[in-house]
C-alpha cells in the first residue's frame, strides 16, 4: 500500500495541462471507492483503496494520455537524472546514491527516497527534487521558510555512473592488450584484441604520429585516452537499456571537461614561439601597438578552440539522440489518429530509427575521431618552433663548435 506522499508524487508527475482529466479520474476513483467502501467496513482501508485505485487509474490514463508533451520527454531522456530508468516501467528506477553538501554538512542517501517529487528528511533538512523553477529536475534543499536552494551536489547521477562505466569499459579495452604483448611479444592478437589494436594503430599512426611527428609519444597517451573515452561513451549511449542509454557525450559538462583538459595541455606545454605568436605576432606594428588588436584576437582564439570542441561534440551527439527519440515519439503522435495511422507510423519510424542508429554508430566513431583530431591539431599548433628559433639554433651551432 502506497502512502500519501506517493499519491502526491503521482499527482505531481501528471502534467499540469491534464487537470480536467485528473478531475475525471478523481471522480471515477470516488465512485469506485464508494462502491468498494460498501464492501469494506473499515474506513482506513477504504481511504487506502481510494488512493490505490486513483493511482492505478492515473497510471493507466497516463500511459494512454494523448496530450503528452514530446519536448519534455525528449529533454528528460537527454538530461541527467537521479536514478536510472529501467525498460517497460516509467515509475521504477535503479536507485543511485545522492551525495550533497547542504547548509549543515554532508548528506548521503538513496535516490529512491526522493523519487516522484517525494520530500525526504535527512537529519534536519528536507530534500526534494524540484518539479519546476530554476532547479527543475535537480535536488534542492527546502528551507524552513519554504524557499529552495541548491546544495553542492556531487551525487552519483545517471551520467556520473555512465562515466564510471565508460572508464571501466575503456580500461577493459586497453589493459588486456598490454598484458597480451607481455606474454606474446610481437605476435599480433586476433579477434577483439586485434580489432582494438587496429583501431589504436589507426589513431596513433595515421593521426597522432602524422600530426605531432617526434612529439607523438609525449601526447599520445592523452589523445588515445580521449578518443577511447568518447568512442566508448558514444557507443554505450546508443544502447537503450542499462548500462547504456546515458546521453554522456551529448552532455555539455562532459565535453567541457574534455575540452578543458585539451586546453590546459595545449597551453601548459606550449612553446615560446606559440606564446610569442599570441602576445606579439608577426604583423605590422600598428596592429599590436598601441592598441593590441592582434593579441586580443589571438587570446580570444585561445578560448574559442576549446569552446568549439565542447559545443561541436555536445551538439552532434545530442542531435543524434534527439532524432532517434523524436522518431520514436512520432509513433505516439500518430497513435491519436487511429490504429492504421499508428501502424504505418510505427513501420516508417522503425525503419528510420534503425537507419539513424546505424548512422549514429558511424557518427560515434567520426565524432570521437574528430575530437581527437582537433585536440591533436591544437596541441601540435602549440608545439611549433618558429623560423627564428631555427635560425637561432643554426647560429648557435657554429659558435658551440668553435669554442670546443
Amino acid at each position: 500500500m502506497m502512502a500519501a506522499p506517493a499519491l502526491r508524487a503521482q499527482e505531481g508527475a501528471v502534467n499540469d495541462k491534464s487537470g480536467d482529466l485528473e478531475q475525471a479520474i478523481a471522480d471515477v476513483a470516488t465512485v469506485d471507492a464508494i462502491t468498494e467502501g460498501v464492501e469494506n467496513p473499515e474506513d482506513v482501508a477504504a481511504t487506502d483503496t481510494v488512493a490505490d485505485v486513483a493511482e492505478t487509474k492515473a497510471e493507466a490514463e497516463d500511459k494512454k494520455d494523448d496530450d503528452f508533451n514530446p519536448k519534455d520527454i525528449i529533454f528528460e531522456h537527454l538530461g541527467d537524472g537521479y536514478g536510472w530508468e529501467v525498460p517497460f516501467n516509467h515509475h521504477k528506477r535503479i536507485p543511485l546514491p545522492i551525495i550533497v553538501w547542504a547548509s549543515d554538512g554532508l548528506h548521503v542517501f538513496s535516490s529512491s527516497r526522493v523519487e516522484h517529487g517525494a520530500v525526504y528528511r535527512d537529519g534536519d533538512i528536507d530534500f526534494t527534487i524540484a518539479q519546476d523553477g530554476d532547479y527543475k529536475g535537480k535536488l534542492v534543499e527546502i528551507k524552513p521558510d519554504g524557499s529552495v536552494s541548491r546544495p553542492w551536489d556531487i551525487s552519483i547521477t545517471k551520467n556520473v555512473l555512465a562515466v564510471f562505466i565508460t572508464v571501466i569499459l575503456v580500461l577493459l579495452c586497453v589493459l588486456p592488450l598490454g598484458s597480451w604483448y607481455k606474454s606474446n611479444g610481437y605476435v599480433a592478437p586476433r579477434g577483439f584484441k586485434g580489432a582494438l589494436e587496429a583501431l589504436y594503430e589507426f589513431i596513433y599512426v595515421s593521426l597522432i604520429k602524422a600530426t605531432l611527428k617526434e612529439q607523438a609519444r609525449r601526447f599520445a597517451p592523452y589523445l588515445l585516452t580521449v578518443f577511447m573515452f568518447i568512442f566508448v561513451a558514444n557507443l554505450t549511449g546508443l544502447v537503450v537499456v542499462f548500462p547504456g542509454g546515458a546521453n554522456l557525450t551529448g552532455n555539455i559538462a562532459v565535453t567541457l571537461v574534455l575540452a578543458l583538459i585539451t586546453f590546459l595541455i595545449t597551453n601548459i606545454f606550449g612553446t615560446k614561439h606559440y606564446w610569442k605568436e599570441i602576445l606579439w605576432p608577426d604583423v605590422p606594428l600598428w596592429l599590436k601597438f598601441p592598441l593590441p588588436i592582434m593579441p586580443v584576437i589571438e587570446i580570444f582564439g585561445m578560448f574559442t578552440k576549446p569552446a568549439a570542441l565542447t559545443v561541436r561534440l555536445f551538439a552532434n551527439m545530442m542531435g543524434g539522440h534527439i532524432i532517434v527519440i523524436s522518431l520514436t515519439l512520432i509513433i505516439f503522435i500518430f497513435a491519436k489518429m487511429g490504429v492504421a495511422a499508428m501502424s504505418g507510423a510505427t513501420v516508417v519510424s522503425m525503419i528510420f530509427q534503425i537507419f539513424m542508429l546505424l548512422i549514429d554508430v558511424l557518427v560515434s566513431f567520426i565524432q570521437a575521431y574528430v575530437f581527437t583530431m582537433l585536440s591533436t591539431i591544437f596541441i601540435s599548433l602549440a608545439q611549433e618552433h618558429g623560423h627564428e628559433e631555427h635560425k637561432k639554433a643554426d647560429e648557435t651551432q657554429p659558435q658551440v663548435t668553435t669554442t670546443h
Binding site: D80, Y200, Y222, V254, V257
Partner: protein
C-alpha cells in the same frame, strides 16, 4: 535550459574519473601498445628491407651462377675444340711415328735381305766352287788315265770357256 548549463557534480566526477582513467592508461596501458606498434612497424620495415636485400643478393647470385655456367660452357667448348685439335695432332704424330717406324723396319729388312742374299750368294758360290772342285777332282782322277780323253776334256773346257766369253 538545463542542457546548456554544465552541472557541477558531473563536471567534478567527470574530471576525477577521467584523471584516474588517464593516469592508469598513461602508466600501464598506452606505453606498451605504442611501443609494440612502433616496434612492429620497425620490424616490418627491417623485414622488408632485409627481404629486398635478400632478393637482390639472390638475383646477384643467380646472375653469377648463370655467368659461371656460361663460362663453363665456353670453356667446355674450348676444351672440346682443343681436345679435337690435340687428337688430330696425336693421331697425326702417331701416324708419322708409325710411318717412320715402318720405314725403319723396311730399311732394316732391306738391309737384312741384302745381307742374306749376299751370304746366300757367297754360300752358293762356295758350294758351287766346292762342287766344281769335287767334280773336277773326280773327273780329273778318272780322265787322267787316258791321255786322249784328257786332251779332249781340256779342249772341251776351253771351248766352253771360249763360247761363254
Amino acid at each position: 535550459m538545463e542542457l546548456f548549463k554544465p552541472d557541477f557534480g558531473l563536471v567534478f566526477w567527470m574530471f576525477v574519473a577521467f584523471a584516474i582513467l588517464f593516469l592508469l592508461l598513461w602508466r600501464k596501458g598506452w606505453p606498451a601498445i605504442m611501443k609494440m606498434i612502433d616496434g612492429r612497424a620497425d620490424l616490418i620495415d627491417k623485414g622488408v628491407e632485409y627481404a629486398q636485400q635478400a632478393k637482390e643478393q639472390l638475383d646477384k647470385a643467380q646472375e653469377s651462377a648463370e655467368q659461371i655456367i656460361a663460362d663453363a660452357r665456353r670453356s667446355q667448348a674450348d676444351i672440346l675444340r682443343e681436345a679435337g685439335v690435340m687428337k688430330d695432332q696425336i693421331v697425326e704424330q702417331a701416324r708419322q711415328e708409325a710411318r717412320a717406324a715402318a720405314q725403319k723396319e723396311m730399311e732394316s729388312a732391306r738391309v737384312a735381305i741384302a745381307q742374306e742374299r749376299k751370304e746366300a750368294e757367297k754360300q752358293f758360290r762356295d758350294q758351287v766352287s766346292a762342287f766344281a772342285l769335287d767334280i773336277a777332282s773326280k773327273v780329273t782322277r778318272r780322265e787322267l788315265a787316258d791321255d786322249k780323253a784328257q786332251t779332249q776334256l781340256v779342249n772341251n773346257l776351253l771351248d766352253e770357256i771360249e763360247k761363254t766369253n
